[in-house]
Symmetry: C2
Subunit: 248 residues, 2 copies
């Protein structure tokens, strides 16, 4: 009975469970953290896992991710919620076939995130703890998390999502710290400032200035996020408009 494999026919389909997992990333104390929950039931009982839940039949995937984010963190109106992968290996859940759609949520550090509406234990864990394997995650969540970080890394370079990590108003040093932490590099403050300000409309200067920390220093200008837009096409050597050379 293998007719119509190309134009699928949902009669007699093999049933799957579909879940949505949300990797909540935030900068806390200058380091990248991820929100994890502790499993209370087998399998992987007592281990840390990425929060997630079932997709409901009446909602879309994006809506399911938003709902999960709201339930876990209380944060509404996803500042940044992007789907980045689907995982469906047969062995990923020992009980049955579960296909999960993974999302990234980038949040600025909010107090009280660790306590969701549910009674399960939740915590913000430094990402370094997981990437070196010091904390083991349930299911294939370690792989999902690695993919999420990789996605954030490229998004940081290609789009303007860095402003989602910082508060509604921020200094350029805070913004620079996001790049430095995610990429693990040190950036030149002066050159970074020029490059950020060169992309017009992406950060907007409020008139105000931040109070320096206990270490002193010149008070930094305060900015707010502008439009978070995708960088233009990185296609090079485009012809001006007129004639062509070396064409077929």
């Amino acid at each position: 009975m293998v007719v119509e494999t190309t134009t699928y026919d949902p009669h007699g389909f093999p049933p799957f469970a579909v879940t949505v997992d949300v990797v909540v990333l935030t900068m806390s104390d200058g380091r990248l953290h991820v929100l994890l929950v502790r499993r209370g039931v087998p399998p992987f009982e007592g281990m840390w896992a990425i929060p997630g839940g079932f997709k409901r039949p009446e909602e879309s995937l994006d809506e399911a991710a938003q709902r999960e984010l709201l339930e876990e963190t209380g944060v509404d109106g996803a500042s940044l919620l992007r789907q980045f992968g689907a995982y469906g290996d047969p062995e990923r859940d020992p009980r049955m076939n579960v296909v999960t759609i993974a999302y990234i949520a980038v949040l600025r550090d909010v107090q009280g995130i660790a306590g969701g509406t549910d009674a399960v234990a939740a915590a913000l864990v430094p990402l370094s703890q997981i990437l070196n394997g010091k904390i083991e995650l349930a299911f294939d969540h370690a792989q999902i998390l690695r993919d999420a970080v990789e996605r954030v890394r490229t998004d940081l370079a290609l789009t303007g999502i860095a402003t989602a990590f910082v508060g509604p108003t921020f200094t350029l040093a805070e913004l620079r710290a996001v790049y430095e932490e995610v990429w693990g590099v040190q950036l030149d403050a002066a050159n970074f400032r020029r490059s950020v300000l060169a992309e017009k409309g992406w950060v907007i200067s409020t008139g105000r200035r931040a109070r320096p920390g206990p270490e002193g220093g010149k008070p930094a200008e305060l900015y707010r996020a502008g439009r978070m837009w995708r960088h233009g096409a990185p296609i090079r050597y485009a012809q001006p408009s007129g004639k062509r050379r070396g064409s077929k």
Copy 2:
């Protein structure tokens, strides 16, 4: 009964159908084409659709995509098969809830692709016909296709997947045509050559030369694909190594 929403429990789950759709892209006659199949059963009977099928419980998502690609095109050992999105809107299939995982397969132009193993009608359709809405697709496949093209566009700029479009041996003009078609721009042949050759190991010169077409021209050098690798980190202003300035 809303306990344990965070650490999902596959008992009493809502069942979904999970399918895998494969957007097969190829360059044919100098233009970008996509492989479509014509639906033989309602709904959307008689309309064109992206080939796809059910995920089987014993296979992973990637394996399901490879199997579908093999069934539709006869092509084995996916030259380039990447997952790029999941779609699960409740209304996307009028009969029931179907979540589909979408893949891109980039193939070089192969004769006889249009005839798959199944008896369904299949054809290579120019992409422009669909993007201007001249051909309507079933389900949400128009959106999936738009997303696929967008993904290929960025992948073309960021990785070396362009070689997947051309044959096992190719001229730089053929490679340039891929970029020009996907991005819809005209590129300078001399500058393009320099940029491609600058990325060492990505195209490798065989000694041979291609025979020029009927229009004449100097015979072009023949290359073969090297390693198709991800470009390095586009992070700027990284500090050399020593001291720091403007740090916190």
